[in-house]
Symmetry: C2
Subunit: 257 residues, 2 copies
């Protein structure tokens, strides 16, 4: 199987333009088929505030109302996405910018209301691996914003980590797929107060031990849980680290089965 690298970049890295430029240089240098998935960080919130839209919270969770999904479509789907594509093109990387509506690439349903109505938030149902595969075959580098779309044509705010992992899972049927989560830390830390204490490799047994010892807590818990599910469903390897982790031989965390 041909190799494929699916790279997710977090919002905070996008906001730091020097680090982001470095990241794009490393992304450009990745050989073979590749896909970029980006979040949007605080830019959507800033634009929302400027437009006079209120951030709605219920039980500490952010709600995506109609105004918010419009801003997300503008900021993630337009401003950030098209600027990433423009930069990559100027670096001779043949990128195209997509959201889940394009080519019906990421079909979702509006999250069912249980305790909380999250509003215009998508739970992914199906990744169109045939369409994405056709683009890769044409030598194109797809750049996805974190927006999915329902069968009925409703755009939905969607977790960028989920988009990256669902794309990786779907593509792993035809490609030896590696998934990269790039964020502000160098990787999973053995000691949260020591940025140098990166754990270089974690398999499922080690993960269980680290959870028991409460080394892995909070936001890292669902992220890693999700990683092991992706590995079970065919993803070859997963990398967690900062903007430099795309380079060979840099310190970061590898998640293996």
């Amino acid at each position: 199987m041909k190799p494929l690298k699916v790279v997710k970049i977090g919002g905070k890295l996008i906001e730091d333009s020097a680090k982001f430029d470095e990241f794009l240089e490393d992304f450009k240098n990745l050989e073979g088929h590749k896909i970029l998935v980006h979040g949007g960080g605080n830019m959507a919130t800033q634009i929302s505030e400027k437009l006079g839209y209120e951030t709605k919270m219920v039980d500490g969770r952010r709600i995506t109302d109609e105004d918010t999904v419009k801003v997300i479509t503008m900021v993630y789907g337009g401003l950030i996405n098209k600027n990433i594509v423009a930069k990559l093109q100027s670096m001779d990387t043949n990128a195209i910018g997509l959201c889940g509506a394009d080519g019906q690439s990421i079909l979702s349903v509006k999250r069912p209301v249980k305790k909380i109505d999250y509003g215009f938030v998508g739970d992914i149902e199906k990744v169109n691996s045939q369409f994405i595969g056709a683009l890769l075959n044409d030598g194109v580098v797809p750049v996805f914003s974190a927006i999915s779309c329902t069968k009925e044509g409703v755009l939905l705010n969607t977790n960028a980590d989920s988009i990256a992992s669902e794309i990786a899972r779907a593509m792993s049927k035809s490609y030896e797929t590696e998934l990269y989560y790039c964020f502000e830390k160098q990787g999973v830390l053995a000691d949260a107060s020591d940025d140098e204490s990166v754990i270089k490799e974690i398999d499922f047994l080690q993960y269980k031990t680290l959870v028991e010892k409460q080394v892995i807590t909070d936001g890292m818990l669902p992220k890693l849980q999700n990683c092991f599910e992706a590995l079970e469903q065919g993803v070859h390897k997963i990398h967690l680290g900062n903007h430099q982790s795309l380079k060979e031989n840099t310190t970061h965390t590898k998640i293996i089965q």
Copy 2:
């Protein structure tokens, strides 16, 4: 040669959601290969005002400063483009939304400063007909927002009529290309005060006579001039009319050589 229809829809039609839905229904029903190009109307101005950005005018011409091109990238490239794609997908039309940066599809240069510095405005240099052709071959319907991009990765506000006609010209080497300009009128009028006085067909000789008689004036002059240039460069036929002109046998103006 296979037929291809390039359809440009004006901003005012997009703002009228009932007419726009009718238009999309007719666009969906067009047989064969097709491409949609859209403007954005007043929505960008409204968002700019809400964000507190001033509209800059020099000698009565609007200037695209850095803030304005950001808003255009958000509104045209994101909000409007992705919503059109989502609607078309819900109607079983396999659309993808693009700006000129995507696949380096519309390469431009920043308009040279002569009397006026228009700012971030693009003059089109090259349409990537190979990339667009590959998408059409994959059964995709490209939907273009009116944004082009320089080699250096700078996004530029670009006239939607120009984008449509440059795409039509470039594609006419491989396709029998018809170009549709859909706007709020039924076509070119013999009497500006009579909406029913549509001139059904205009060739170049008739055009010259109509200009002399001052039937064709103002904004219609450059539009028609541009049409005849496009016909000379290989575009097969051009249609001017309202949202219904995509239907068979409706009254509108056909421009022929």
